[in-house]
């Protein structure tokens, strides 16, 4: 008998099929597609449909919503602004948090491990698939919003309150920067969700923990009394993508946010692997 290899156990492609066939993946897709449709309906037919826009710094704060109807790009920008705080957070937490815990709850985790899928290989495939699905939801949200906005509001260039307008290619670049940054800033939530997924057999617990931690961090970030301490919150830089709307992209906060997010993600995933490497599977 030759040495048996486990190199080809649970390839990413197979794990992707296993996840794609789940209903929650379909629901996530529906949510991401429904959001721009609902908003466009509200803007077009809602009670304030006849407001002649506005935008810019309405009452001092950035009023992206006022610019939503300025064209496809602006609509996509508004959608990602809406979704980044909660919808995308929940989706990312779900894709990365539910993945191991749900296998444990179905008792399929032990069969995968007996197949045998090496433990790190299992985590790797599950994490990669979770992240790919997270990226996909951001891409679909932006892409579909752009298409909806294009049909509803036309192909006007991207307009921002301070930098004027961007050409199509520049707008695409800016939206890519924004999308990538939002994904990176969500890695913190993904890390918590994935760690909890390894530690618990309750899928909802893993997803919920990540969402609650991020929301608590956001709430703390809104308390001015905490002053400089807030800079240490992992979500402190979650809005830094707005820097990409300036005439020259303001990278500083995005770089800081990226550092925080990726370091936190790495530590959380490292800890998850450490725990899973040693865990007795009794589920």
């Amino acid at each position: 008998m030759t040495q048996i290899s486990t190199r080809s156990a649970l390839p990413v492609r197979i794990e992707m099929i296993r996840q794609l066939k789940r209903r929650r993946t379909l629901i996530a897709l529906i949510l991401v597609i429904a959001l721009p449709l609902i908003v466009v309906a509200a803007v077009k037919f809602g009670p304030s449909a006849n407001n002649d826009g506005g935008g810019g710094f309405g009452d001092g704060d950035l009023d992206l919503v006022g610019l939503a109807t300025a064209g496809g790009w602006n609509f996509a920008l508004t959608m990602i602004f809406f979704a980044s705080g909660f919808l995308l957070l929940i989706l990312v937490a779900m894709f990365t948090g539910d993945t191991v815990a749900s296998e444990a709850s179905w008792s399929t985790l032990r069969y995968l491990l007996m197949a045998p899928v090496p433990r790190r290989k299992l985590l790797r495939s599950k994490l990669i698939v979770g992240l790919i699905l997270s990226i996909a939801s951001i891409v679909i949200l932006v892409g579909f919003s752009y298409l909806v906005g294009l049909i509803a509001f036309g192909s006007e260039p991207l307009t921002t309150p301070t930098a004027g307008t961007f050409s199509n290619s520049e707008a695409m670049y800016r939206m890519t920067v924004i999308g990538v940054y939002i994904f990176i800033s969500l890695l913190f939530a993904a890390g918590i969700a994935f760690l909890m997924s390894v530690l618990t057999d309750v899928p909802l617990g893993a997803v919920g923990t990540a969402v609650v931690v991020v929301i608590v961090s956001n709430i703390l970030g809104a308390i001015d009394a905490l002053g400089g301490l807030r800079e240490w919150l992992p979500t402190f830089y979650s809005n830094a993508w707005i820097g990409a709307l300036n005439k020259d992209i303001e990278w500083g906060d995005m770089l800081r946010g990226t550092s925080y997010s990726i370091i936190a993600f790495t530590l959380l995933i490292g800890f998850a692997v450490y725990k899973f490497d040693r865990k007795d599977i009794t589920s």
Binding site: A9, P118, R120, K247
Partner: protein, 826 residues
Amino acid sequence: MRSAGAALVLLLSTLLITSPAAQAAEPEELRIPGAPYSATDLNSVSLDANLYLPEQIPAPAVVIAHGFGGDKNGAGTQAEKLTEAGFVVLTYSARGFGESTGLISVNSPEFEVADARALIDFLSTRSEVALDSDGDPRVGFTGGSYGGALSLMVAGYDNRVDALASDITWNDLETSLFGQSVSGSDQLGAYKDLWTGFFFSVGLTNPDGSVTECGRFSPDWCKAYTESATTATVSPESAALMRASSPITVTDKITVPALISGGQADSLFPLAQTNANAEQIKTANPETPVSVLWHGMGHDGGINERERLESLITRWFQKYLLNSDVPVALPFEVTIPSGAISTQNTRPDAVVLTGNSYPGLFGNETESVPMAGPPQKILSPAGASPATITSLPGIGGAIAGNLGSFVGSAFPGQSAFFQTAPLTASTQVIGSSRVQLSFSSALPVTDAVFFASLQVVAANGRGSIPQGLVAPIRFDQLGPTPTIVTVDLPTVAVAANAGDSFRLVVSTTDMAYRMPFDQRIYTVGLVNPSVELPLVPTLTQVQQSSNAVWLLAIIPVVALVWLILFVLRPRESRAPLDTAEVDIPVVISGLSKTYKGGYQAVSDVSFEVPPGVVLGLLGPNGAGKTTTMRMLMGLIAPTEGNIHVFGRPIYFGAPVLARVGALVEGAGFLPHLSGRENLDLYWRASGRAGDSYLEEVLEIADLGSAIDRKVKAYSQGMRQRLGIAQAMLGKPDLLVLDEPTNGLDPPQIKAMRDVMKNYAATGRTVIVSSHMLSEVEQTCSQVVVMHRGQLIAVGEVADLLAGKTGGRLEDVFLDMIGDDLTVGKY
């Protein structure tokens, strides 16, 4: 994982680097004799001062002069920062302010400037201060407003000064207090009523609270102010007094590096004054390093850039007094107050642009934007009321932005409007825009004043006056014949977007200025139908991020590389092969498992499983059967002992497990997939090579058409049969079945027995655990009996039965455990 743990600690420690702030030492409080009280009283004034000493002495000194109405304590934090940067710092109260004695002469060369020279004398006597030569300390002067003018004046009068940084101050006091925006005009400007009143009121109170005519002002200045405030004119004496106190008289003598800053939010000393200081120094001494800052602060408030400004001032002195190699302000730095969106709170944020040359007030280039509007008649109301409000001097904070459309248009008939078409491209206006206007008055008058502002009007019609600044215009004479002039509009840095337009507003009133009280009708018209916008296209944006931020980006990259290379990389441990046991399916030796709570589930179990048999693992519930099977399958780690399968050691995910099929403690399937999909995906997920024998095992499962239904609809028996089928996928050399007959009905149990016997008949091995003794008896050729985690018997079923009464395994088992029968049925 050891390396992983070490890297984790490393990452944590890099996050926790902190720099404790050095504790600043208490300053030494001093009384320093200054210049004489007055021309007639030659006693020296006593100047109240604080001296801050750095860690390393001797060091160059920096004198911080305070603003009007302040005292030596106002600059405490800046003094501490400069001390930390390595300077001896002297803060003092100017004569007439704080605890210092004497009367205010508004930076007169004879008094305040002479006081400052006395301070230099004092510094030269202190051993802590580095000297250029005997009696000449190495010293820099800095200050804002009143202190800014002093810094310029002393640098002009005393060549011992080695560097200066002057902020928001005047070049010429007269043109500051009498604003004139007509290009090239030498006529007296419009009197800044509110500002001048506020400015002087600060010095009119006595320290003891008593009220006198002149307060702490010297008689000369008291007289000059009273005259201006009463008549809004300037006598030759007053003009001479103001001129003597203006940096314009000495700027040609300033040869030391000068950081000249001014604020856009400043209607008292507008950027035109800052510009004049810088241009005069540069013109007289082109070799002198001069950097010009147009920041967003000023007497009207503006945005907070104090930290940036103080850092630039510190670095200026570090470079020119300490000769350190620090980056200093470029020749031109300008802040666009609302040039960006804050990433923290999504409010307007400042953008700083820099350039390698100073463009002056009118830009490197101009863009001529067409502007339209007919000549308009406007009213200068009787009593000069109501008056437009653009700024509230002394209160701070330009309010124009908040008043929005109220500004300029609130009082109909008082303003003329001229507007451009929407811009086709966004542009940055940096400097003073210019328009050519014609003014006339229905009746000849002698003191006509106007206020011109350039609003930025957004596409939605919302207009705002940048910084709330207006350009005051005054004519000594105005009659029916139009007077044609070029007007320099306020100096600002503002970003206008495509779609925005500019609106020129010329009003007859502004609350901050002195206006005529009789009613007049003026006509204002455009001479050229355009406005010239100053552009500085060569400026580059300062990334707020320093190099340290890019350095910060290295950490996550390292972290990710570590994660990918060392943590998530699949590894195969190539443990040594025990060749002696390579044909023996299972060898268990000294196996123990104690769970975290201290419960010992398995203790010191050793046995072998020979090939080609059906081995029964027998024992009541809780005997340790399932725990043993989980250890065998690499799901839980033994506390002691080891397991070899086909000669290879078992650990989590050991590759040899690919030769084992198992059903442990019930089946587990993806509920949203059919039985067939489950088995198919499971096989593909296992990554095993070879034939899965899917159809064959599906036959064993005997699920009929249910095989294509979703598993969540299955009964327990169906799941159990599918689980056995899954274990048999690929026909593994070793089949491990834990309680396989759970949930099966008698005919299915019978069928399952045959399946197991037939499987072993092919030379493969089956391990079956059960608590049903009769079942094991009928299926197995060998048994291992466990009780309370311990092995109590191993052998052929026939041997165990031999010589026992009853000839049934159950009796044998009861015999073995004796009275120790506490666990349920079996």
